[in-house]
């Protein structure tokens, strides 16, 4: 009987651990901007248009989004564009060249780290970037416009 109780308890602990980890370890992508930006949230489509350069003004404003990209070599860059934007990286490169040099607008500027994205967002009212599981302190400094869970 004692062995049965120990076994059941062990299964319970493992189950709870898995559930807890699913909550705490879940990878989310946050699209963030400066707290002074009047925009409150963006839809998936609007996020897609911002980072593909097709949203020239924030909805309901006369302000241009200043998009910030993570490093092209980072996993987050790949994940963001493939999972959120829905475009493969080879296609994105061709699209960016096409978009940039056909006079339609500018492409996001690239920074080298997650902290650099935060710094850029803190510096510019209309900057917009994406972060993976930012810490509580970071989330207190920026405004979250969009959040999406990722399946790693």
């Amino acid at each position: 009987m004692g062995q049965l109780i120990r076994s059941t308890s062990l299964q319970l602990i493992i189950g709870l651990s898995v559930m807890l980890c699913a909550g705490l370890c879940r990878a989310d992508i946050f699209v963030v901007t400066n707290q002074d930006n009047p925009v409150q949230q963006l839809t998936t489509k609007e996020v897609r248009k911002v980072f593909l350069g097709r949203l020239h003004l924030y909805p309901g404003t006369e302000h241009e989004p200043v998009a910030i990209d993570q490093s092209q070599t980072s996993d987050l860059y790949r994940t963001f564009y493939e999972k959120i934007i829905g475009i493969s990286l080879p296609k994105l490169k061709r699209y960016r060249a096409y978009y940039l040099f056909s006079g339609k607008g500018k492409i996001p500027s690239e920074v080298t780290s997650q902290q650099a994205v935060v710094d850029a967002v803190l510096r510019s009212t209309y900057a917009i970037g994406y972060l993976k599981n930012p810490g509580k302190n970071t989330l207190q400094q920026v405004k979250v416009l969009y959040r999406s869970p990722l399946e790693d």
Binding site: R54, E64, T73, P90, K93, R94, Y98, F101, G103, K106
Partner: protein, 409 residues
């Protein structure tokens, strides 16, 4: 137009130090090409490996003057000299002010690229398309000098659903260029393009009307002969032939449809254009199409293209020349008539081609392409190729080999 450009430069100069938000970028291609026929030329490529046909360099500057007003300019230099320019002469391809009136409405004023085809705006940017160059059976050498419009356009995007958008462009302006020794002045030019797009496909239609004046110093001289012949013989056939050698305010309609579709690793791109000319006078009937199939591995993209091109200048004039030759089979009539016929027929081009190639994205923002394009020439023409030795029989086929490396920065 000079006044407009001066105004643009002054506007930028007065604002350029007030904003830090400028973006400098560039593109380049270095390519070598060779044709497998002696004394024969495609663009700048002949039977020697040569860099000029696909070597290009361009730089672009964009910046915000205010949040809604921005400035863009692009200058490029190409080894492929079409029209009246020398190889590598820098050309201003874009120079415009853009005003974002609302999230979906943009106005541009200045020099913009024409919007005939999907890749008209980035024709010089090799990195933006899969091939060594956009298929010349649609992006024809003959019409490339007419690739810029000085004027303006309006771009409106209509959100149809979460996945679907319709881009509407209306434009107006003027086009100037030289095709061989022929000067083309299309003023006004106006039209529209419609693009229905989702993330993985697009459909496109464009329509241009060009109110065109066409003239040539050498053809003017020939025209004067026909005036003399008319005065001498009183035969109106000479006036009809002479008047077909230039155009004054003639409307030409350019239509193009195209589509692009990506599904998983596969890609399909296809375009077709056709020009509607008047039934008489200086008339250039032209049409072309291509169908391209691609397969994307991670860094490798093999591709194939089927394409066709047909161009006929003044088809209604040739029977008149034959009739005049039959009626006046003596010099100087024969000399002038035969010269006119040869000149008109030199613009005749009919070709079919198959292209096989592979693109390798071996570094970030850099790729290399290997391509072979096999042309079959029809209707006694040499397509878009030029025989360099008139004494030899022109070939009925040719293959153009190209290796080109593209970079964007």
């Amino acid at each position: 137009m000079r006044v407009l450009f001066s105004a643009l430069i002054l506007t930028v100069a007065s604002n350029c130090f007030s904003e830090q938000n400028w973006q400098f970028s560039g593109f380049g291609s270095i390519g070598v090409g060779k044709v497998n026929r002696e004394n024969f030329q495609f663009g700048e490529a002949d039977d020697n490996w040569d860099f000029d046909n696909d070597t290009r360099l361009g730089v672009q500057l964009q910046g915000n003057l205010t949040e809604q007003l921005s400035f863009t300019t692009q200058v490029s230099s190409s080894g492929l000299a079409l029209g009246g320019n020398e190889s590598y002469t820098p050309q201003v391809q874009w120079l415009f002010l853009s005003y974002q009136a609302s999230p979906n409405l943009q106005l541009r004023l200045g020099r913009v690229r024409s919007s005939h085809y999907i890749y008209s705006g980035t024709r010089d940017v090799g990195y933006s398309y899969p091939w060594a160059r956009p298929p010349i059976d649609v992006y024809a050498y003959l019409l490339q000098p007419l690739g810029n419009i000085d004027g303006g356009d309006l771009l409106y995007t209509l959100d149809l659903s979460d996945e679907l958008e319709l881009d509407l462009q209306l434009f107006a302006g003027e086009v100037e260029g030289e095709i061989r020794d022929v000067t083309v002045d299309a003023s006004p030019t106006y039209g529209t393009s419609l693009t229905l797009r989702s993330l993985n496909w697009l459909l496109r239609y464009s329509f241009h009307v060009e109110h065109t004046n066409i003239s040539s110093e050498s053809l003017k001289e020939v025209e004067s002969y026909y005036k003399d012949f008319t005065a001498l013989t009183g035969d109106p056939i000479f006036e009809a032939i002479g008047s077909s050698l230039s155009a004054a305010g003639t409307n030409y309609q350019y239509h193009a449809i195209g589509g692009q579709w990506d599904i998983e690793q596969w890609g399909v791109i296809a375009e077709k254009y056709w020009i509607l000319s008047p039934d008489s006078g200086f008339a250039n009937d032209s049409d072309g199409w291509y169908l391209s199939l691609l397969y994307h591995f991670e860094k490798l993209t093999p591709y194939g293209v089927l394409s066709a091109y047909d161009n006929t200048l003044n088809k209604s004039t040739l029977p008149l020349i034959d009739e005049a030759l039959a009626n006046y089979p003596v010099p100087p009539f024969t000399t002038v008539l035969e010269g006119t016929r040869d000149s008109i027929q030199s613009f005749k081009a009919k070709e079919r081609s198959i292209t096989l190639g592979i693109r390798y994205d071996f570094m970030p923002n850099t790729c290399i392409k290997f391509e072979a394009q096999r042309f079959n020439f029809l209707a006694g023409s040499t397509g878009q190729g030029f025989p360099l030795n008139d004494e030899r029989a022109p070939p009925d086929s040719a293959t153009l080999f190209t290796v080109v490396m593209d970079v964007v920065f």
